[in-house]
Amino acid sequence: MTKIFTRDKFQHLVRVLNHPADTFYEIRHREKGSVPLALIIVFLFSLCYTCNRIFAGFIVNLTDPRSVNGLTDLQSIFLLYLLFCIGNWSITCLMEGEGRFKDIMTVTGYAFLPLIITYIPAILISNVLAANEEVFYVLIIGLGVAWTALLILTGIMTVHNYTLVKTIFTLILTLIAMFIIIFLVLLLFDMLNQVFTFFESIYNDLMLRG
C-alpha cells in the first residue's frame, strides 16, 4: 500500500502553478499525481465557490443568500467534474490519448488550484470595494478562471500527448460527450420510471380487482 499523501505529491501539486507542463508530464509518467489530493482540491474549490456567493461584499454580490446551499453546490460541482472526466476519457480513448482515467481526474482536479487561490483574496477585497471599483474583484476572479482554463488545457494536452489543436478539438468533443451522457442518463431514468410504473399498475390492478 503506497502512501497517498506524501511530501513529494504535495510539492508537485504546488509546482503545477509555475511549471504546469513539466509537472503534468511527471504526473502522467512518474506517478507523481494523487487522485485523493485532486478530489480534495475540487472539494476546496466548491467550498470557496459557496463562500464567494455568501461572503463577497454587498456591492459585488448580487446573489440572494437564501438561494445558496453549500451541499447543492458541492454536489453539482462534483457531478460536473466527474462528467467532464468521464466525457474526456471516453473521447480520448478513441482518439489515441495516452492518459488514463486517473490522470484525467488528477489533472482536472489540480487545475482548480488557481481558482481557490484567487477566490480567497477576491472575497477579502470585495469587502473593501465601493461602486466603480468592482473591476478589481472581477479582474481577480477572471484571472483565476483564465489560469484554471489554461491549466486544464495544458494538463489534457500533456497527459494525452496531444497537439494544441487536437486538444481543443477533443475538448469540444468532450462537451458534446457530456451532453450525450446527460441525455442518456435522463433517458435511462425515464425508462426505469416507466418500467416501474408499469409494474406498479399491474400490481394495483391485481390487488384491486383480484
Partner: protein, 491 residues
C-alpha cells in the same frame, strides 16, 4: 426554473408566515392581503395601508340604484361625479358621500333639452366644467351646471380613417383645457383635443413589441396563414389622468405585466420612472396565465394621480390597488376580489378625496370607501416630504413606519439617506444595506472607508516603511551570508 424555485420559496415563506403571524393578521381584520414586492421580487406582507370604511350605493344616496357605473371623479370643490352609465345619467354626490346633490339626466344643449346615452367617462376641469364622455352619442359634452357650453364630436383629421366612429370612454382635462380622450378601438394612442374641441393629434402611442420568435414564425408562414394570425396592434389605454404639472398619466393592460402606467410629457413621450425592479405593471410575481382567470399579469383598468408624485392603479383581475411613488417604487398593494365588505366584484375606477381612496365597482354597483391607516398615512406623508425635498423631516416618519413594518426597504433607504447627509456613515450603511440600495450604500461605504484610512494613515505608512526597511536589511544580511558561504565553499 427560477420561477418555480421562487414559487417554492414563496410557499415556504407563506407557510412560515401562517404558523407564526396569524394573530397579527387577524388583528388587522381586513378581508384582503396587503403586501409589497421587495428588491428580490419576493412578496412581503405588510400592515394594511387602507381599510374599508363603508360603501355608497344609489340607495344610501336616496336615489334609484346605479346601473353599471363605469367612472367617477372628484371635482376641485370636493363633489363627486359618478357616470351612471346604464342609467344614462350623471350623479353628483356630496363631499361626505352621504347624499346626492344632483342627478343630471337632461341638459340644455343650445336651447333644446338633450340627454346622455351610456356615458362612460366623466371628469371636472380646474374651471369646474364637467366633461362627460357620452359614449353611445359619439361625443363629449362639456357642461357648466346643466347647460352645455361645448360639444366635442365627429373629429376630422387626415390621420383619422374616413369611416372612423368616435366613441369616447375616458376623458381627462389639463390646466389649459386640452382634452385627453381614451376612445374605443383607438390603438394609435390618446386623442388630444384643443380647448375649442378641435382634434389635435394622437398622444403617447404604445410601442408594439414583436419577439424574434414571432418574427421568424411570421416570415415562415404563407400569406393565407398570415391573414389568419393575430395582428400586432398596440394595447389600448384604459385610464387617463392629469397631474399638477400637466403631465398625463395613462394606464394600459400590458400583456407582459411590466409596464401598465405611463407618464406622458407634453410631447407625448413616456417619461415614467420604473424604480429598482424596473416594473410598474402591478403584480411583479404571478403565475403564467394558463390555470385560470386569477393568473397572469395584472389587468390595470384605471390610474389615479394622487399628488406629490404618488399614483395608484386599479387591477380588475385580482382586485388590487397598486400605489407607486414618483421614482416608481412600489409603496403598497391592497384589495382583493370577493363578496365581503371591502372586496370587489368588478372594480373599474379609482378616485381619492381627502385621506380616502374611493373605488367604483360596476359589479356591486357601489362606491367603496377606504380610509388610510396609520401605516398608509405615514408612508404617504413621508413620500410627500421626500418629493418636496424635506428628506430630513421624513426620517421620523420612516422610523415609525419601521416599527410597523420592519421589512420595508423604502423606509430603510429613507433613514439611510438621512444618516448619509448627516455624516453618520456607519448607520447609513446599515440602513441602506437593509434597503438593498447599492448606489447609496456605496457612497456611505466609500466615505466610511476613507475616514478609517485617513485616521490611521500614520500607522499604515509607518508599517509600510518599517516593512520595507526590514526587507532591505534582510536582503543585506542574506547577501553577506551568501558571500561568507561562498568563501567557505571556496575553501
Amino acid at each position: 426554473m427560477k420561477r418555480f424555485a421562487r414559487l417554492a420559496a414563496l410557499t415556504a415563506a407563506s407557510a412560515a408566515l401562517l404558523s407564526c403571524a396569524v394573530p397579527a393578521l387577524a388583528a388587522a381584520d381586513v378581508p384582503y392581503d396587503s403586501y409589497t414586492f421587495n428588491y428580490r421580487e419576493y412578496i412581503e406582507f405588510t400592515p394594511a395601508p387602507y381599510v374599508p370604511a363603508g360603501t355608497v350605493s344609489g340607495q344610501t344616496l336616496g336615489i334609484t340604484p346605479f346601473r353599471n357605473p363605469q367612472s367617477f371623479c372628484v371635482a376641485p370643490d370636493g363633489l363627486i361625479y359618478v357616470a351612471d352609465t346604464d342609467n344614462d345619467r350623471i350623479v353628483v354626490v356630496n363631499q361626505e358621500l352621504t347624499g346626492a346633490v344632483a342627478v343630471i339626466e337632461t341638459f340644455d344643449n343650445g336651447g333644446t333639452p338633450d340627454t346622455f346615452r351610456k356615458p362612460y367617462g366623466v371628469t371636472v376641469s380646474e374651471k369646474n366644467l364637467l366633461y362627460v364622455a357620452d359614449t353611445e352619442n359619439k361625443r363629449i359634452v362639456v357642461l357648466d351646471g346643466d347647460r352645455a357650453v361645448r360639444i366635442i364630436a365627429d373629429p376630422k383629421s387626415e390621420i383619422l380613417p374616413a369611416e372612423y366612429e368616435f366613441s369616447p370612454l375616458k376623458v381627462a382635462v389639463d390646466y389649459a383645457d386640452r382634452v385627453y380622450v381614451v376612445a374605443r378601438n383607438m390603438f394609435q394612442g390618446i386623442m388630444v383635443f384643443t380647448a375649442d374641441g378641435e382634434f389635435l393629434s394622437f398622444f403617447g402611442t404604445i410601442p408594439v413589441s414583436v419577439s424574434l420568435w414571432q418574427r421568424i414564425w411570421r416570415s415562415l408562414s404563407t400569406k393565407e396563414q398570415r391573414k389568419l394570425q393575430q395582428l400586432f396592434i398596440p394595447t389600448e389605454f384604459t385610464g387617463v389622468d392629469v397631474d399638477d404639472a400637466g403631465f398625463v398619466y395613462a394606464s394600459c393592460i400590458d400583456p407582459q405585466g411590466t409596464q401598465a402606467a405611463f407618464r406622458l410629457n407634453p410631447k407625448g413621450v413616456d417619461v415614467i420612472r420604473k424604480g429598482e425592479n424596473n416594473n410598474v405593471g402591478g403584480d411583479v410575481f404571478f403565475l403564467p396565465a394558463v390555470a385560470g382567470e386569477f393568473d397572469g399579469p395584472s389587468k390595470i383598468v384605471d390610474i389615479l394621480y394622487r399628488g406629490k408624485g404618488i399614483y395608484s392603479m386599479l387591477d380588475s383581475k385580482r382586485g388590487r390597488v397598486f400605489t407607486y411613488d414618483y421614482e416608481g417604487n412600489l409603496l403598497y398593494i391592497f384589495g382583493g376580489m370577493g363578496t365581503q365588505a371591502g372586496t370587489f366584484k368588478a372594480p373599474c375606477a379609482l378616485a381619492s378625496t381627502g385621506d380616502k381612496l374611493l373605488v367604483l365597482d360596476s359589479g356591486r354597483l357601489e362606491i367603496m370607501i377606504f380610509t388610510e391607516t396609520e401605516y398608509g398615512s405615514l408612508i404617504n406623508t413621508a413620500v410627500g416630504l421626500r418629493q418636496d425635498g424635506d428628506e430630513g423631516l421624513a426620517v421620523d416618519l420612516w422610523r415609525q413606519v419601521l416599527t410597523l413594518n420592519e421589512n420595508l426597504e423604502l423606509a430603510n433607504i429613507g433613514i439611510g439617506k438621512a444618516y448619509l447627509t448627516e455624516g453618520n456613515n456607519k448607520e447609513a450603511m446599515k440602513h441602506l444595506k437593509l434597503g438593498m440600495n447599492r448606489t447609496y450604500y456605496s457612497i456611505a461605504f466609500k466615505r466610511y472607508r476613507n475616514n478609517i484610512l485617513k485616521a490611521n494613515l500614520g500607522y499604515i505608512l509607518t508599517g509600510v516603511i518599517v516593512a520595507a526597511l526590514a526587507l532591505y536589511v534582510r536582503s543585506l544580511v542574506r547577501q553577506k551570508g551568501t558571500e561568507k558561504g561562498d568563501l567557505l565553499a571556496d575553501d
